[in-house]
């Protein structure tokens, strides 16, 4: 579904990404783990064209998208839920969700899609008319994910969905990610909570200082000493 080859991005004079190769297959959930500053968010921004990569190829469902604008990439079916719960704080919950369906040309599908989001996140259904800014952190994250789903993405990219949430809410968010996966959504997940991310995902990439240093099936990575000591906080 998504294929990144030799992606290089500079951040000012600094090389932030140094030749990234990454792949996400249909129906998979792939996670990208790495320390703060490893370049995870820069990689997502480069894929979405929020920052301009220096070189490299990005193919989405077989077509090259590195020449497209962010808006055009979104319209192709790749949706990023950015970190920090980037909801529209001055809009209501309902308006946020409707903005999620902004690219939809089929007005008839918006109603049922809303119903589905409310079924998945009942707390949002009860707060449709509330300003998004008034939601709790966890609710804002649910809104951000729900808004992403309203676009009916082929590939949903989640950037640090559990960041800054209370433990119980983190649990909840990961169970939602699991459900989304089971219902067939292809997901690229970026997480600092490596343990949870590896447990929920099929495959993983480890990003260190702008390069992929390790990749493979999560079950195998979870057994590797370097992963356990560096990302799971266990002594080798």
């Amino acid at each position: 579904m998504l294929e990144v080859r030799g992606l290089v991005t500079n951040y000012g004079p600094i090389r932030a990404l140094d030749g990234i190769d990454l792949e996400v297959m249909d129906g998979e959930i792939v996670t990208l783990i790495g320390a703060n500053g490893a370049g995870k968010t820069t990689l997502l921004k480069s894929i979405m064209k929020l920052v301009k990569p220096l070189r490299g190829q990005i193919r989405f469902r077989g077509t090259e998208i590195s020449g497209l604008s962010t808006e055009a990439i979104v319209r192709k079916g790749m949706v990023l839920v950015p970190e920090g719960r980037a909801i529209l704080r001055r809009m209501t919950v309902l308006e946020n969700l409707l903005m999620g369906a902004y690219i939809s040309n089929d007005a008839a599908q918006i109603g049922p899609d809303l119903e589905q989001v409310f079924a998945r996140f009942p707390v949002l259904g009860g707060k449709q008319k509330n300003m998004a800014a008034a939601l709790s952190g966890g609710e804002q994250q649910m809104l951000a994910i729900g808004r992403g789903l309203m676009a009916r993405p082929e590939l949903l990219i989640l950037d640090e969905p559990s960041l800054g949430l209370a433990p119980l809410m983190v649990q909840e968010i990961f169970s939602i990610i699991g459900h989304l996966h089971q219902s067939g959504t292809t997901i690229l997940l970026v997480e600092q909570n490596a343990k949870k991310a590896l447990q929920v995902s099929d495959r993983a990439y480890v990003l260190e200082l702008g390069s992929i240093t390790l990749s493979g099936r999560c079950a195998e990575l979870l057994k590797r000493d370097e992963v356990r000591s560096a990302y799971l906080g266990e002594s080798a």
Binding site: M48, T70, E71, A86, L88, R89, M91, M99, G100, Y102
Partner: protein, 289 residues
């Protein structure tokens, strides 16, 4: 007397509101103080004058012509003086709009002369007496046009898909992009709507005072800018109410104090409000990016 002044103030203020809404819309999506907005207001008045005197168009047609003409001017300003300029240098677009101000003013002076010119009496004036309040046809026309435009604007921004996209862009352009909003399209659309509102305001002010001049824009620009601050940056409802507050403050000053102090009084009220509430009366909605 009090009610009479209030009505007069609301009428005057509603034209200010139309100009201020444009300021605040453009500030919202671009974080830009659009200096030339007052000149667009002035052009609206001259477009209507040319259409009604030159082509003998009626009031409604002239006003519609002015609305379309100023929307096109807004389109051109965005294309020529805003879009090509890199926004990273935040002073550069500001200076560009100052440049546009001067160009439009000089062009208007060349075309229409620098002296104030009479604006045709387009409405048959009839006076009505409602208890203590006297109101004439002209005032009713001005008030109903500006209030209708404000209501339409409010409905557009709060209820339509395009309006939502505009608010999303104003709140956070990156987030809007990630939702598939073509931000450049929204910016140009915002310029056209803002300019059309200013153009209509120009016609209304021409009708109210029977005289227009190429320099009327500068005066209005100051007021529109002040109202934007008063209502809160980027806050559309704030601009609507702020315009009416300033208009009422002015007419009360003329009625109860002295007419020569009207601007000083109006700006004094503004300074006072900003000292007490720096984010404006109704809260600032500044772009976060």
């Amino acid at each position: 007397m009090f009610l009479q002044q209030l009505i007069n103030g609301i009428m005057l203020g509603s034209t200010y509101s139309l100009v201020a809404i444009g300021y605040t819309l453009i500030f919202g999506v671009l974080n830009l103080l659009h200096f030339a907005h007052g000149e667009v207001f002035m052009l609206g008045a001259f477009f209507a004058l040319q259409l009604s005197l030159g082509l003998k168009w009626g009031l409604a047609a002239s006003m519609l012509g002015a609305l379309i003409g100023t929307a096109l001017v807004g389109f051109l300003i965005e294309r020529v003086a805003i879009r090509p300029i890199k926004r990273e240098y935040f002073i550069a677009p500001l200076v560009a709009t100052i440049g546009v101000t001067i160009i439009l003013q000089e062009v208007a002076t060349k075309l229409f002369g620098s002296a104030p010119v009479g604006f045709p009496q387009t409405v048959g004036i009839e006076n009505f007496q409602l208890g203590p309040i006297g109101i004439n046809t002209l005032q009713i026309v001005i008030l109903s046009i500006s209030l209708t435009l404000m209501i339409l604007m409010h409905l557009f921004v709060s209820k339509t898909k395009m309006g939502r996209a505009m608010r999303a862009t104003a709140e956070n352009a990156t987030t809007a992009r990630l939702l598939g909003v073509k931000v450049n399209g929204i910016i140009i659309q915002t310029f056209m709507i803002a300019s059309a509102l200013a153009g209509v305001a120009g016609v209304l002010v021409g009708m109210a005072y029977n005289t227009i001049s190429p320099y009327m824009g500068a005066h209005m620009a100051g007021k529109g800018f002040a109202i934007m601050l008063l209502g809160g940056l980027g806050n559309i409802r704030g601009a609507m109410l702020g315009g009416i507050i300033l208009g009422v403050a002015e007419t009360f000053c003329v009625g109860y104090l002295a007419s020569s102090y009207r601007d000083a009084f109006a700006y004094g009220v503004m300074v006072l409000i900003l000292i007490l509430k720096p984010s404006g009366l109704f809260g600032s909605l500044i772009h976060e990016d």
